[in-house]
């Protein structure tokens, strides 16, 4: 349990530490790791207790409100257009694969935020790792009915499968769509095909144009 100031920001809020203690007593060894995200507690649980964690949160911890469920792909994005074409303005992310609060076992992770409408500052961030070749987890729809659309979104955007979901079908994208756009290896084609106009359209101001350039043109 981390009760000290860490480089990653302030320590756990008192309520978050309390929530973590109660989750630990309920889930025990199924909690792989816990971490801090600016005072909020991040709890990484084993995949087979993913649904049980939701039940504990909703019934035992008074966390009655589902904020969202979403996926993370920790793979470093392939450098966009290293050949010099396309977009060079995108922020360069580190090349090595690192993980955020509470860590991760691999590339894919599922995370969710649950909150309480009755207690102040009472919220928990839950995470679970999904193996690359078997990215599936139990659906939360039976616990939080609002999970329905969030899981459909994670399914189409990341390719995560949710066992027990009533109808996993496309939410945003057309039915014929192939691929999982929010995975890091899915390129943003618009940026590949056409260079970022903000970069190519820059013309030097009249005063800034080097005299050497002009001389070169007239010569």
């Amino acid at each position: 349990m981390a009760d000290v100031e860490t480089p990653a920001g302030p320590a756990l809020r008192e309520e978050a530490a309390d929530a973590l203690r109660r989750l630990q007593s309920e889930l025990g060894d199924a909690i792989v790791e816990d971490g801090i995200a600016f005072g909020d507690v991040v709890v990484r649980v084993q995949r087979d207790v993913w649904k049980r964690a939701a039940e504990v949160c909703k019934d035992g911890l008074d966390l009655d409100y589902l904020s969202f469920i979403a996926g993370i792909d920790w793979m470093p994005a392939p450098a966009v257009s290293e050949e010099g074409s396309g977009d060079t303005s995108s922020p360069a992310q580190p090349k090595e694969q690192t993980y955020g609060a509470a860590g991760s076992a691999g590339r894919f992770q599922l995370f969710a935020v649950v909150e309480s409408t009755r207690r102040k500052h009472w919220r928990v961030i839950l995470k679970t790792d999904l193996p690359d070749d078997d990215a599936r987890a139990d659906s939360w729809v039976a616990v939080y009915p609002g999970a329905d659309w969030h899981e459909r979104e994670a399914w189409e955007m990341f390719g995560f499968v949710f066992d027990g979901h009533p109808s996993l079908r496309h939410l945003y994208l057309p039915s014929e769509f192939e691929g999982h756009p929010l995975r890091k290896d899915y390129p943003l084609l618009a940026r590949e095909v056409k260079p970022w106009p903000g970069l190519v359209d820059v013309e030097p101001m009249p005063g800034e144009a080097g005299e050497g350039d002009e001389a070169g043109e007239t010569a």
């Binding site: 969202f68 955020g100 939080y144």
Partner: protein
């Protein structure tokens, strides 16, 4: 043409239907044999009551809804992907366009998340101006709702009043930021410019107008027997179910849940320095949602008046490096936006742009309860329920 000229059913040509055209499950629900009398009605994607491109596939038994399936995504712009290709200052331009009626309020949680990660805090005067502009966008958003909700039940006058008063507020926002709808005015570490000369007294006048027009809405709409008949005990959201669906904001408070992130969430902006209250209504029906938003408009106007009185002087920007690099870390910031809980989960890896941003928008969850909520409703009530939930398509589709 008399009825005898119509072709008898036997003469109609057989139409070959390509099954691939009906791959969407909603389309597959068409009952071919027509033996139950069910009928599938497509509302939208272009329908005046949907404020954009929401499509509702409802299955009707007579006038009653058997099942409803909202089809969204007509306006999906992929902002979560785009944020991975932009720097932090560029992203505020994108997120302005999520909920385009209250763009300024959208910027606040994202900027706040970036500031938390960087360990800087905007100076008090900037915080006050942010709060004022956030509340002004709340008033503008709600005034449109207060007028439009009347329109959906057949009262045209409130719509004119709503649009008129909203214009005053939009003029105020434009005078400060230069943009009526997309201010892009927040900066990491503060705010771009100070209030223009004479703005404070102008704002006081407009807030008085808003308070007066709230009284007008009270007289015109709330006491109106037709309005009450169309909205009372229609579209009731139970407390626990609403929370489990992630319904937030005024929609949840109208179900009696006393929860407002401005008061109950971690501190953001200057709400703790103001004297205000959270309004709830125990009924949870369409009427309650209207009533709560009416009270919240008043409350916001009072908050703005208070802030104009106690605004401190001082700088508008904290010390911020020229190139904004956000240290490694992840943070979850949620704020009470006009439409409900707006949250960003920002994961940074120390670059000039975020590694992953999860955008949690209010309307998405508010609308996800529709299949449950519309079941058993009458067709004309679909429109009032949709209007009373008050969603913005950009906020659903992101």
């Amino acid at each position: 043409m008399t009825t005898t000229d119509l072709p008898s059913p036997g003469d109609l040509p057989e139409i070959e239907v390509d099954p691939a055209a009906f791959r969407h499950l909603a389309d597959a629900q068409v009952n071919v044999e027509l033996d139950t009398g069910d009928m599938v009605l497509n509302i939208g994607p272009q329908h005046p009551a949907t404020h954009g491109t929401l499509r509702l596939v409802v299955r009707l038994d007579g006038e009653r809804v058997v099942s409803a399936d909202p089809v969204i995504g007509y306006m999906h712009r992929g902002y979560e992907k785009l944020t991975e290709f932009r720097t932090y200052p560029q992203i505020t331009t994108l997120i302005n366009r999520i909920d385009w009626l209250s763009s300024f309020a959208n910027e606040v949680p994202f900027i706040h998340a970036a500031e938390m990660l960087m360990g800087i805090e905007a100076p008090p005067r900037a915080q006050y101006q942010r709060t004022i502009l956030t509340e002004l966008s709340r008033i503008a958003t709600f005034l449109l709702f207060l007028g439009e909700m009347g329109l959906q039940v057949g009262a045209i006058t409130p719509a004119f009043y709503g649009f008129r008063d909203r214009e005053y507020v939009l003029n105020l926002i434009e005078a400060v930021t230069g943009g009526r709808f997309h201010p892009n005015f927040n900066r990491i570490g503060g705010i771009k410019d100070d209030l223009p000369w004479g703005w404070i007294s102008e704002c006081r006048g407009v807030m008085d107008k808003v308070l007066r027009s709230c009284d007008e809405f009270d007289d015109l709409v709330v006491g109106n027997p037709i309005f009450e008949k169309r909205t009372r005990s229609i579209g009731i959201i139970p407390q626990a179910l609403g929370a489990a669906y992630g319904v937030s904001g005024s929609n949840l408070r109208a179900s009696g849940v006393d929860w407002d992130l401005r008061r109950d969430g971690p501190k953001y902006l200057v709400y703790d320095e103001l004297d205000w209250r959270v309004w709830t209504h125990p009924d949870g029906d369409s009427f309650a949602r209207y009533w709560v938003r009416l009270q919240e408009t008043r409350e916001s106007a009072r908050m703005v008046l208070q802030m104009l009185d106690q605004m401190p002087s001082g700088p508008l920007m904290a010390k911020v490096p020229r190139i904004i690099k956000v240290p490694e870390g992840e943070v979850f910031v949620n704020t009470e936006n006009p439409l409900g809980e707006m949250a960003y989960y920002v994961i940074s890896k120390g670059a000039t742009g975020p590694f992953r941003t999860k955008i949690r928008s209010a309307s998405f969850s508010n609308v996800s309860i529709l299949p449950w909520l519309l079941r058993g409703a009458y067709v004309p009530d679909i429109i009032t329920i949709l209007a009373s939930l008050y969603f913005i398509l950009g906020d659903i589709d992101r």
